[in-house]
């Protein structure tokens, strides 16, 4: 499992588009921070809000870039033959691939996280922000991307690459706004069949709003322990659910 994960990281690092993404995002942050004079609380807040908003977008790009071809590329190019003819099970191979993808995404979050921390720390407005809350906001954004990685791998098994990318972006947005759909359905007609279907969907489809702690970080709102442990538990369960689905797809796949 570990050699496969290492190979994914090596591939990510050696692909130039990955460098381009990191440089591009650093450039955005640099431009943003140059226009936010230090010492002004509101502008520091705006810059932090923007950074934490752009982070998932960058994360999503890297996740899409890494994960849509993560396994299907090996299958199409038949590289998988030489891997699975070694003493490694399909499940270990899948776990290795996903672990490598998580670490590649983590690398981006790590670099961006350090920049955001440094910005807040040296802004002169540190007393108005909690570094712990900023850490949890960044961490859960990363956690969201781990979940997305599993979702994308599942979708890529049976969809062409372009469709898988489009559907992944749609899924990401939908996972964030799905609770609003349910609220709307409940308001319009609480006892209809449509509302019942929405309720089923509500419990099946992941809710990414659980992982959104941006407001707590930017506006320094209260962060309860349950707002950390519950999403961690919920996210881990969802992560394993999608891992199981991906494993079933891979075991059934004729290579």
């Amino acid at each position: 499992m570990i050699p496969v994960a290492k190979l994914v990281i090596k591939e990510s690092i050696r692909k130039k588009i990955y460098h381009f993404l990191i440089i591009f995002s650093l450039l955005i942050l640099f431009v943003l921070y140059s226009y936010s004079p230090f010492g002004v609380k509101q502008q520091t807040k705006t810059a932090l809000d923007f950074s934490l908003s752009i982070l998932p977008l960058l994360g999503l790009f890297v996740t899409l870039f890494t994960c849509t071809t993560l396994i299907m590329d090996d299958i199409k190019s038949k590289k998988i033959y030489l891997i699975l003819s070694k003493p490694i099970s399909r499940f270990s191979y899948l776990c290795g691939k996903l672990l490598g993808a998580y670490l590649s995404i983590f690398l981006v979050y790590f670099i961006m996280g350090i920049i955001i921390f440094c910005f807040v720390y040296f802004s002169g407005m540190r007393q108005f922000f909690s570094l712990t809350k900023i850490f949890w906001a960044i961490f859960f954004s990363f956690f969201e991307m781990m979940l997305m990685a599993n979702v994308i791998v599942c979708l890529a098994f049976f969809l062409p690459q372009g469709t898988a990318i489009s559907l992944s972006i749609f899924s990401y947005l939908f996972f964030h706004i799905k609770s609003n759909f349910l609220k709307y359905a409940l308001l319009s007609n609480p006892n209809s069949v449509k509302t019942f279907i929405w309720k089923i969907f509500y419990y099946i489809i992941p809710d990414f709003e659980y992982f959104n702690l941006r407001d707590q970080a930017v506006h320094n709102f209260v962060l309860k322990n349950s707002q950390i442990y519950m999403p961690l538990l919920y996210g881990t369960a969802t992560l394993f659910l999608f891992l199981t689905i991906a494993a079933i797809f891979l075991y059934r796949k004729e290579l």
Partner: protein, 247 residues
């Protein structure tokens, strides 16, 4: 004798989801590969050779029939510790050098130490004649050297059974000669080789046993010498079998 591969009534068909038609890839194929044999499965393109190899390695599941390899199911990944596989085409990670690629495959075999892995890599690149290209990126290698890399990765674990899919495919005569020499040496070391090929002179020079497959059906399986009793060469015999089957 010890049977390393046992295939009983292997049948594989594919269903076209659009036309709803069934295509039979392999039909009731049965064969046994004993220890020490060099078995060549020969047949034209699309006859079912690669499908059989894929099923032996557990990449595809039989529609019906039984396959046993080294006494285990093809889906058991532990059996791969004792197997070396060379696919028809070179399916490598072209962003790696030969050394990095072999280190990756070696890591999958879980060598006890890095030093043991390095020694093994030095040994296999020496044997296959790619020592001077050790730090060359795979994307820069010729077809012949890719095939040598393929053989190098297949013997890293010192396997007792080698499964080669068209080892001489796309190689020039010099490369074919060298690969034949490597395979002969490996056989002398006591390794069992199961290979597919449509290059008959190669099979004739190398194999002790052959199987002839056409349209998914095994027409002959046995000693090469038993087939070749009337003074005809393998190519002629092969053509006769094909003609008689098509009648």
């Amino acid at each position: 004798m010890c049977t390393l591969i046992r295939i009983t009534d292997f049948y594989k068909s594919y269903l076209n989801k659009f036309t709803k038609t069934k295509r039979i890839a392999v039909e009731n194929l049965s064969l046994e590969i004993e220890k020490g044999q060099i078995y060549g499965l020969i047949g034209p393109n699309g006859s079912g050779k690669t499908t059989t190899i894929k099923a032996i390695l557990g990449f595809i599941k039989p529609s019906s029939g039984q396959i046993e390899i080294l006494g285990k199911s093809p889906l058991d990944s532990k059996k791969n510790r004792r197997i070396g596989f060379l696919p028809e085409e070179s399916y490598y990670h072209d962003f790696l050098t030969i050394k990095e690629q072999l280190e990756f495959y070696g890591a999958l075999y879980n060598f006890p130490t890095k030093k043991a892995l390095d020694i093994k890599i030095a040994e296999v690149i020496e044997l296959t004649g790619i020592k001077q290209y050790i730090n060359t990126f795979i994307s820069e290698l010729s077809r012949g050297n890719l095939q040598r890399l393929g053989i190098a990765q297949s013997i890293m674990n010192d396997p007792e059974l080698l499964i080669y899919d068209e080892p001489a495919s796309g190689i020039d005569p010099v490369g074919r000669f060298e690969i034949r020499k490597i395979l002969t040496d490996l056989s002398r070391e006591g390794k069992t080789i199961f290979m597919s090929s449509h290059f008959l002179p190669e099979v004739e020079k190398l194999c002790t046993h052959i199987g002839i497959i056409l349209n998914g059906k095994l027409l002959y399986s046995g000693k090469l010498s038993d087939l070749n009793t009337e003074g005809k060469d393998l190519e002629e015999k092969f053509m006769n079998l094909m003609r008689s089957d098509s009648k």
